[in-house]
Each structure stands twice: as C-alpha cells, then as structure tokens.
Symmetry: C2
C-alpha cells in the first residue's frame, strides 16, 4: 500500500521482479484487497505466485513513528514485518513511512545484540564501484557510539552484499583534519582510531569522496546522510535534464545523439538514484524503497531483499554485533580531542 | 598565498579577472614577495594594476581558527582583511583556511548588528536559475536562532546578488512534515512560520529541491551545507567523467560527440561547482574561494567580490540586520512542536 501511488505501482514492480528472481520466490501482498485485486488481475504471472493478505488498515505517510508503533497493529506494514518474525516470509519490503517502518520493525523483530535502533543503508555508485553509505535517514540525532555502530554494521553489510573480504571504512566530515567537525564526529573518530575494533578504518572522508569510492563504507548521521542522498539524486536529475537540452539544441546535436546513443544509454543508467535501502541492525531483513518509487525501483528493492535473504547476511551481522559489544566494553574512555 | 598552489594559481586568476572587470579596479596582493614577484613578472597587464604588500607570515591550512586569530596578525590573510577595515580595499578574497578567515574577519571587521558569527553562502545552479544556500561550512553547530539569522541574511544577499525583489526562503530538512528533523530545525521552522518576519517563507525543503530551485534561498547548518556542496561537486564530477567515457566508447559515439559539441560545451559549464562564497554578516566584504581553486575559480571569486563592492549589498545587509534584531525581540517564545 506504500509509496505515493500504492498498488498501481507496487504490484507492477513485483511483476518486473519476477523476471529477475528464481522461480521459487513467492510473494505475500499485505493490504486492501479491493485495491489490490483489480491490479493483480492484469498481472497473471504475478498472481500465480502471490497470496494476498487483506487488511484495510494502513500506516499514513505523515504518521509519527511512536503513533505508528502504538496503533499500527494489523496494518499492512505491521503484517508484512510480522510475517518475517513468524518465519512465513524471508524478508519484508515497504515504500511507506520510514520512521513508522523503523519503529514497527524494531518492535516486532527486536534489535541485534546491543544495537539501539535500526539504520538505513544506501549503495552509492561511483568511479570505482559502490560505496555503502549509512545512516541515510533513520536516525536524526546520533552520538559517537551510534556512529561507531554504523561503521561496524555497514562493514558487515558491505562484505556480504559486495563480496569484499575486508571493506575500508571512513567517517564523513567537513575536512580531513582531526579538529574538524562537531563533537560527536570527533569522538567517533577517536574511538574508531583507537584500533580496538577489527576494522580497516581510514579516518575522515568528505562529501566528494562518495562518488570517488575512496572507502567502501562511509558513516554519517541520518540527517546528513538523507540530505546528501537527496542532493545527489537532485544533481543527477538536473544534469540529466541539462544534457538532454544540450543534445537536442540543434539538428547536428540530435544527429550526434543518435550516433552516440549506445554510450548515452549506459550513461543514463548512472543517473538513476539507488532505489532500495535495507534496515540494518534487526533480527530479520527489511528493505525500504523511497516514497516516490517507480515500478522499477520496487523491483530493485524486492530483488535486494531476495538476495539478502539468500546470503548469510543475518548471521554475519549477528557475529559482528557480538564483536561490537565486546569491543565497546574494551574501548578506552574517549578523550576530548585537543 | 592561499589555496593548494599559492601565487602560481592565484595571480594568473587575477590576470583572468582583469579582462572581466572595469578598468579602474586595482589589486592589493598580500604575501611573500619572493614567491609573488617571479609570477607577476610574467603577467605585465596585472602588474600595472597591482601593489604587492610583502609579508612572510601565513595562516596554515590546518591552523585552528582560535590560533589563527591569536597569532595571525601580520599574516597575508590578516592584512587583506585589515585593508577592508581601513578602507584601502573594497573587498578581500582568500582561498585559505576557512575557519581562520572567518575568525580573523570577525575580529577585524566586527559583525553586523546582532549577528554572532559570519556564515558562508554558495550559489546553487538548477533548472530555474540559482538558489542561494547557506551556511555551507562556517558554522558547524547551529541553534534555531542562528538558522533564522541565515534566512534573513541569505534573503538580503539573494535580493542584491540576483536582483529578485522578494526572494522565497526554505529551511532544509529531511521531509516536509512539521514533525520531521531535529529540534533546532523544527524550532527555526516554528519561528519563521510565526509570520513576525518580513520574509516569503515557504517551509521545509529537501536536498533535491536545490537543483529544482524550489526556493530562492535555502537555509541549513554549516555541517550539512558543506556536506551537500561537496556531494553535489562529487556527483557532477563523477557524471562528467562517465559521460566522457560513454561518448568515447566507439567510433560512432566519437563522431556523434563532434556533431553535438556546441551543446556539450554548454553542458560542461553546468558541471563546474560554484567557485566563490561570500562571508555574510560582516561589516565589510570578504569572499572565500575553495582550497583547490583553479585560476578560473580565483577569477570568479574576485569578480564576485568586485560586484558586491559595487552594489548596495553592505547597506542592504545592515538594514536587514536591524530588522532581524527588532523581529527577534518581538518574536513569540518558541513552543515545542507537537
């Protein structure tokens, strides 16, 4: 039911996902059957692999997380996450209210060892591949310990999702010198630098390091991360539009565009923003797609959820969270940077 | 002396600026004459309009602002700002240490009425023109009142710099609902919404609204603003590189590129980041260019400084700061948003 458009976009998204997934992947669709049935009727291949679980209750897009948690029981979002808890589903996907999804997921699935709240991850495309950026919107205020947790969860996620044996980790800041940034980021830097963690920590990185893929995992608070993600999406969309204008500005330019088309098609893919972000830190897999998700974005999110469910992602996170707990106990008291 | 390269880049930058400025604009160059003289010797047109003020003292790029302020007297940065104070110069331009420039400028030029610290502005190009974004790196921790000050200073700057009679103002946040974001941003929203200010305030905007130019002026704290600016620069550079690859991927693509070249040249300009940012809130004009500035970037910064010096920018800010002071006194106590 989530996203700006609901079933008319989410169900065709599932239809696209089918073609990319193994034949034994099945779907539970939670929501209002009266809205779902007519769309599903036009997608017979999907209908054959789908069970609809009716509910007319929904979490609204402007609902406060605490309210979603208290009153959300029996809503489509709640039921989707609960199916992961009961083991009926291997993963849940939502394009709905991010704060609500986070609160409900936390309540139903509980957190991994010692993690306070889930966080959101985004794959950031760049010149050398992909950087995993977190948190991109789940946690607005983050203290130093939260940022360190992100580093450890992000590293584990990157290893599983991208098959990198020892991912490098950086902390996003507005400069590379130790004295830069606010207190939380300087304290997290001091903790990560202490060497008590089994991480390949590379220190501070800046906003332009993301597209350079300077590190595999880049850590920041959810406010900054969400802003950066939206800025990158906006910049890419703007430049894509400007390029279109430039390439249709004359007859010769249009002819040139036709000749260069195969290359330009590949370029166009680079302009689309990452469509899906898993919630990290939960005992279970929940993937969030953005509210304005298209059917292709929904398909990407569903495929990511299926990939994660088939990997050893959950146990990898579990192992690392135990490590985090031990490391935090052993960590030295943080000194105020001079 | 500032920036990654010093005189070999900053002086040719002045050389480029000459061609774009009225013939009566003259330059004071502050720094080490031994480094300046050989470069200036190769730029006779510039040399004729320049006085060199020798000092071998410099503010280092990693110097703490407080240290720069205490020990910076007599440095090239200090002397450039002091020349504005004495009236010998109409504006100062630096590519040096941002924090140091801010501290020294504040000490020498003092702040306008009721402004605590200067802030940095960036022009943000987009589909409909330019959005003025502030703060982009001068103030890391900002309370609600600071954010409101940015709104008022940014609106005044945008009116002067872009000739818009009544600029629209937005507050950057991770969503458009009143409950979104951290406390500072929600409080600033409540103050701006109260209607006690003579501003066309449009509420919350998101990261992707910058390239859409949804508002004329977008306000945020210096940490987030700097991150966003670097992300936009990084994204543009990455996409520019990918486009180059795409357009040289085959012989046909290369031929197409030649045909579309005039359009592509126009597009390439859109990829370059804004080169200069004025410090707002001072009794005097100081423009900062980034550390990695090229000669063209230096020229852009110098031309911006000259434009501001010739406008009624200073008195416009002064008028608005008086208005801010009165409005803040009249503003209602901020209620905690429900």
């Amino acid at each position: 039911m989530g996203g700006d458009h609901g079933p008319p976009v989410t169900l065709p998204g599932l239809g696209l996902a089918i073609a990319r997934l193994p034949g034994d992947v099945r779907f539970l669709i939670h929501g209002d059957e009266a809205q779902i049935a007519p769309v599903l009727a036009r997608l017979p291949a999907l209908a054959g692999r789908t069970d609809v679980r009716h509910t007319d209750k929904m979490v609204a897009s402007d609902e406060q997380p605490a309210v979603a948690m208290r009153r959300g029981k029996g809503s489509s979002m709640w039921n989707a996450v609960e199916a992961v808890k009961t083991g009926e589903a291997d993963a849940a996907v939502s394009c709905g209210n991010t704060g609500g999804l986070m609160a409900i997921s936390k309540l139903i699935l509980r957190m991994s060892v010692d993690v306070e709240r889930p966080c959101l991850v985004a794959p950031w495309p760049g010149v050398k591949g992909v950087t995993t950026v977190l948190d991109v919107g789940a946690n607005i205020d983050c203290d130093a310990e939260r940022l360190v947790e992100f580093a450890i969860m992000g590293e584990a996620f990157h290893r599983v999702a991208h098959g990198v044996a020892r991912p490098t980790v950086g902390l996003l800041n507005i400069g590379s010198e130790d004295m830069k940034g606010h207190e939380e980021v300087r304290q997290a830097h001091a903790i990560l630098k202490s060497g008590r963690f089994d991480l390949d920590y590379r220190g501070f990185v800046e906003g332009d390091d993301l597209s350079k893929n300077t590190v595999d995992v880049a850590v920041t608070d959810g406010f900054t991360g969400n802003m950066m993600l939206k800025v990158a999406e906006g910049t890419a969309r703007y430049l894509g539009g400007e390029l279109r204008t430039a390439l249709s500005s004359s007859l010769l330019a249009k002819l040139g565009t036709v000749l260069a088309w195969p290359g330009l098609l590949k370029f166009r893919e680079k302009l689309s923003p990452p469509a899906a972000a898993p919630l990290l830190g939960l005992n279970g897999i929940v993937v969030k797609s953005h509210g304005g998700a298209s059917d292709r974005d929904v398909a990407d999110a569903v495929c990511m959820a299926a990939d994660l469910a088939q990997s050893d992602f959950a146990s990898e996170i579990e192992r690392n969270m135990t490590r985090l707990s031990a490391a935090l106990e052993a960590a030295p008291a943080v000194e105020e940077p001079s």
